[in-house]
């Protein structure tokens, strides 16, 4: 790599003479730059086209995600352009991945509008992902300065208050997504909700694509679901909820559905990630104003989070969603049917639930992140999990999580209520054993078997699903080698 060729051109006459110049020479590469406390920092994984220098590629990303365009413009000189230029200040080869580099880029706080995920993302991922000199680009992590974090509302309710409202402490919450996803009428749908909640679940959930289709219009669903919720509450003496999905084509329609859910006494409403960041922020504000828990289904995220070399890491989405202000967000199960490496998943859960995330490269967390007293988000684990994995789920995911057993409840051979009861007994027995100091990781199966002695539905569940596991290699494990370049 020729150091000289990446040197910033400081002579103003040369720097601003019309024509094309390397991004590094334009000032987007500053290897000596020390990020300010108030800078937003982004970490990109860049894969330059063959023959493109990694430093120039990083500088180009910095340029295209801030002030630069393809050619020199004299109008830069009407601005404090030094300040507005993003600065690539560090480029490290990715351990074990030839041709890929981690590029650290710092952005001045004044480049962003406060309290707007739309503005933040328009800058950071707005233009650069289609940039020709790069084969691929992935936003791996961001450091959001406290000054910026404080401009966001954060989760409408948060874990602490959610638990107080639900009167439920000391154990993971239990949920289930109503299945089949499509086709049930409102009346039939409510039956599933009633059986599952009465059996011992805390929540049931609409699926992401349950909105207002010909087989079941939203209002009908809401009415039957709330009948089920209240009946189940009376049958158990517990606070129950069902995530009523208010996702719709317009903000007006979403507000109308959310208001109706509120008027029926629901404790929670739900939206999908596909409604967009601004709509999510609006709903978070509505939820805060109306004392409602806001559940977000991350519908569509895998289109840009799953590939290792291109897109946006889910940990970045998680950070944006904590700023945006949702209370629940799906975050993987490790053991279920959907993507999830244990170390990476731990990184996500920490972003959801901690006051402060220290750098943890082994979990894919590249920066110290302070959350400045923003509420905590409740992670939701769903997809191919069942009662027989309870010890693994509690070990991997901890206590502040919603465990959603959709098939694992509704697919129980003796019915939905039995399925729900099996899950609840397994959960309580496992929490009890953990608190009593038992080694649940190794003794988990014994604990479940013992609990099943006084609970036939659990015994049946363990028999039916005993051999189900999803053991595939993960496509998104952290690229971490404890080498000086990366861990320094």
């Amino acid at each position: 790599m020729n150091e000289m060729s990446n040197q910033t051109v400081t002579d103003a006459k040369k720097r601003y003479s019309a024509g094309v110049m390397k991004y590094a020479q334009m000032g987007y590469w500053e290897p000596d730059y020390e990020p300010k406390e108030t800078d937003v920092i982004a970490l990109f994984r860049i894969t330059p086209q063959d023959g493109v220098d990694a430093v120039e590629a990083a500088a180009a990303v910095a340029g295209e995600s801030s002030t630069a365009t393809w050619t020199v413009v004299w109008t830069d000189r009407l601005t404090a352009c030094e300040k507005y230029r993003a600065k690539a200040y560090r480029v490290d080869p990715v351990p074990g991945s030839e041709g890929e580099f981690f590029a650290y880029i710092a952005y001045d706080l004044d480049l962003f509008e406060g309290g707007s995920i739309a503005n933040l993302t328009a800058s950071i991922i707005g233009n650069v992902f289609g940039f020709k000199p790069l084969k691929a680009l992935r936003l791996e992590d961001m450091r959001l300065p406290v000054a910026y974090v404080k401009t966001f509302q954060g989760p409408a309710t948060g874990i602490v208050v959610e638990r107080e409202r639900l009167n439920c402490y000391g154990r993971p919450l239990l949920g289930a997504t109503v299945k089949p996803k499509l086709g049930l009428s409102g009346r039939n749908y409510g039956r599933v909700v009633y059986e599952a909640l009465k059996g011992g679940l805390d929540f049931t959930k609409d699926d992401e694509n349950i909105n207002s289709q010909p087989f079941m219009h939203w209002r009908d669903r809401f009415l039957y679901c709330m009948e089920a919720v209240n009946r189940a509450s009376a049958a158990t003496g517990e606070v129950k909820g069902t995530y009523l999905n208010v996702t719709a084509g317009t903000m007006e329609e979403m507000y109308a559905r959310a208001e109706f859910a509120k008027s029926l006494g629901s404790v929670i409403v739900m939206i999908d990630l596909v409604i967009g960041y601004t709509a999510i922020q609006s709903m978070a504000k509505w939820a805060r104003d109306n004392d409602m828990i806001l559940h977000l289904h991350r519908a569509g995220h895998s289109t840009y989070t799953r590939q290792r070399s291109h897109g946006v890491s889910f940990r970045v989405i998680a950070k944006w969603m904590r700023l945006a202000g949702v209370d629940h967000l799906h975050a993987g199960t490790v053991v279920g049917k959907l993507e999830g490496d244990p170390a990476t998943t731990k990184g996500y859960y920490d972003i959801f639930r901690e006051e402060r995330n220290p750098m943890a490269l082994q979990n894919g967390i590249f920066f110290d992140q302070e959350w400045a007293s923003l509420n905590k988000m409740m992670p939701v684990a769903s997809g191919g999990i069942h009662a027989g994995q309870m010890h693994q789920l509690l070990t991997y995911l901890g206590e502040d999580v919603v465990l959603q057993f959709g098939g694992g409840t509704i697919g129980h051979p003796h019915g939905i209520e039995a399925g729900a009861q099996a899950n609840r007994v397994a959960l309580e027995a496992m929490v009890f054993a953990r608190n009593a100091g038992r080694d649940i990781w190794n003794e988990g199966e014994d604990i479940l078997r013992d609990a099943a002695r006084s609970c036939t539905p659990l015994k049946q569940a363990l028999d039916v699903w005993k051999d189900v596991s999803f053991d595939y290699a993960s496509t998104d494990a952290p690229d971490f080698a404890p080498t000086p370049e990366v861990s320094a």
């Binding site: 009890f432 054993a433 009593a436 038992r438 604990i447 013992d450």
Partner: protein
């Protein structure tokens, strides 16, 4: 819903190795430390060794299914002040913890004031609070006989006694109570409170230290603070101990500690007044005869000085003696 465990793992053993249990439980360490750190107290050490053996055997018997009840472990420690009762209580808590008779092994030390309230309805919560704090460990009630004041009909001490007795009986797994105080007063206390007598399984008497032991204790106390007595001072200290024993409020090791505290004060004062240049470590660490000789004990003790002091005061005020 206590979890069932593998029956094979819980089957009672058919043999027991007491020596191994002695080692593994760490009881040997406690007893050795007791021997090493406490001067004298031979009968006390012997009684503790016996108690430890009893508990070790009892534990083995329970493991084999030969015994089921938790043995009564409440104790009384009788003896004069400064004879090491609190120190031994600490070691006893440790011992009981290592043997598995108490879960935490902490020691909570209280007197009447911590248990008995000032007004109606005050005593029960106070006593319960103390008992709850001591659960998992040992409750040491110093001068326990003050709980009982028959001369006062409305004394709240009786209420504390009743709660104490109840908990000592019903919560034997949860805490061990040690009642401590002067031997004669404890005897009287037990004879007027038979409930206590029947709940105390182990009586341990703490003899006074003899003069040589107290001198030894004095030297060890100083050594721990990096001080020492020179030869004259050692002789003076021996004289001091003999004289102090005959005077009022003698409290064994505690009297020695107080004497040494005052001697260190005088030594500092002496060095400050006399020193004419830099002092070496030797000088800073040595207690000399004058530091001890200035004590009132050599002028007839507290009683003597107080009397003459009062006389002086009266004379100063011009009132006749």
């Amino acid at each position: 819903m206590t979890d069932d465990t593998d029956p094979a793992a819980t089957a009672p053993p058919t043999r027991v190795d007491l020596a191994a249990a002695f080692e593994e439980s760490g009881v040997r360490d406690v007893l050795e430390e007791l021997d090493r750190t406490l001067i004298g107290l031979k009968p006390v050490k012997a009684r503790i060794r016996e108690t430890a053996a009893l508990l070790l055997v009892d534990k083995a018997r329970r493991q084999m299914g030969l015994a089921t009840e938790t043995p009564t472990l409440h104790m009384s420690f009788t003896g004069n002040p400064g004879t090491g009762k609190t120190t031994v209580a600490l070691k006893m808590a440790d011992l009981l913890h290592r043997l598995g008779y108490v879960r935490k092994g902490h020691l909570v030390t209280v007197t009447r004031d911590d248990l008995v309230g000032q007004y109606i309805g005050h005593t029960a919560p106070k006593t319960k609070e103390v008992l709850k704090k001591a659960m998992g460990g040992v409750l040491f009630i110093d001068e326990a006989y003050y709980l009982y004041r028959p001369e006062n009909e409305r004394d709240y001490g009786q209420e504390a006694i009743e709660i104490l007795l109840q908990v000592m009986e019903n919560n034997r797994d949860d805490l061990v109570v040690i009642l401590a105080g002067y031997a004669d007063r404890m005897d009287r206390f037990f004879s007027s409170n038979p409930g206590f007598r029947s709940r105390i399984a182990h009586h341990i008497e703490f003899p006074d230290y003899d003069d040589a032991e107290l001198l030894h204790i004095a030297e060890r106390m100083l050594d721990q603070q990096n001080y020492r007595l020179d030869d004259d001072a050692r002789r003076t200290m021996a004289e001091y101990i003999a004289a102090r024993r005959g005077q009022s409020h003698f409290a064994n090791a505690r009297s020695v500690r107080n004497a040494l505290d005052r001697a260190r004060l005088r030594q500092a004062n002496r060095l400050f007044n006399e020193a004419r240049g830099p002092l070496d470590a030797e000088t800073l660490s040595t207690i000399t005869e004058p530091d001890l000789r200035a004590s009132r004990v050599f002028r007839g003790g507290l009683d003597g000085t107080r009397a003459s002091g009062q006389q002086a005061a009266r004379q100063a005020e011009g009132t006749p003696p």
